[in-house]
Symmetry: C2
Subunit: 215 residues, 2 copies
């Protein structure tokens, strides 16, 4: 049996709130009222406060003393700083993946790339889910739990900012190429190239995000 991952109300509240923040159900800039949300979840303010503090530590909420918790909305500076961090982490992960990958890691990466490309050729939009799957597979191949954990947190914050990134065909095409090239470098065990490609890839994504931020 699956022993329920979160027994505690606080843990459940974290999951529900995270979902609502990431999907935009709670709009950026809006405030999280403790009593209101607590009633809506059917729990007391205690566990909810812990959940709010937890999400704040993940960067999904910002706390203002005596004012409450807010969903942060992104400034260009935030995006740049965030992508500098993401670049540092994922380039390192790409290097590690190039030197540590097993054959099954490689197969997994190639599978994800192939599925993304099938999807794209079929005219369907490149689902963000597959992009996440690619980066996740790369992290698995890197075998560095701490780095993987931090990347997950950063990606989460990126999701929070992501506007209409999915429906820009040129960008999607470039990303697919980047992924393929990344897999080739990792297959060759070329750490330097893997890092360089990742850096270029994230630089492109960051630029795309900055432009879509200015409408």
């Amino acid at each position: 049996m699956t022993p329920p991952l979160h027994l505690s109300l606080a843990g459940q509240a974290v999951d529900v709130l995270r979902e609502q923040v990431l999907t935009g159900e709670i709009a950026p800039g809006s405030r999280v009222n403790e009593v209101e949300v607590a009633q809506k979840l059917g729990i007391s303010r205690g566990p909810l406060r812990e959940a709010i503090r937890h999400l704040a530590s993940e960067g999904l909420l910002t706390l203002v003393p005596h004012r409450g918790a807010f969903v942060p909305d992104a400034t260009p500076e935030d995006v740049k700083a965030l992508f500098e961090l993401r670049t540092a982490l994922e380039c390192a992960a790409a290097e590690l993946a190039a030197s540590r990958r097993t054959d099954v890691d490689l197969v997994r990466l190639q599978e994800v790339c192939a599925e993304s490309r099938r999807n794209y050729k079929a005219g369907q939009p490149f689902p963000y889910r597959l992009d996440l799957a690619f980066h996740q597979s790369l992290l698995d191949a890197a075998r560095s739990p701490r780095i993987a954990e931090q990347v997950r947190l950063v990606q989460q914050r990126v999701v929070l900012l992501r506007s209409a990134l999915e429906d820009d065909p040129p960008h999607q095409h470039a990303s697919l190429d980047d992924h393929d090239e990344l897999v080739r470098a990792i297959a060759d065990g070329d750490a330097a190239k893997a890092s360089a490609v990742m850096r270029r890839h994230l630089s492109r994504v960051c630029a795309q995000m900055l432009t879509s931020l200015n409408h």
Copy 2:
């Protein structure tokens, strides 16, 4: 006047607890009893719980459902994974510092190096404080707030593991040389070299930590 940084009891509790954990006043492996500590701090369990959760999110405590919070003690795997993360972050910071540093940044770095060396030549132990000051100055020069924030958290966890790192003269000497070489690379704007030196430096520190972990 300095408007008190932490008005809230929870914030104060975070500071006090962090200090006690980092100094080893609360020994690794030991348990944090909520009612006991709350009474000792003269506060209620509510704010203390928030403080505990906050420190847990920083990695200074580990939570076990229905059992409480424990100070984690380090395994070699933890140390390696932690240093992989630290290397990713600080190498990136070194690269950025090499390309973004101002002259005042450079002076600051050189000052810290000079003071460290004076201290060392005077036969005094290389204070950990100066090592932190060096890395902090480097982060200032890198001008990447997110990376700096993450490095701070990782360094904190390293402090938690640090045993007798200060009183090993050969290691101290090597570290001083590393720092000097790093400053030269940053002065030259040589990002690649700065990154490489940082990687070697942290690799050495990690190895030292692993050996001192096995007594």
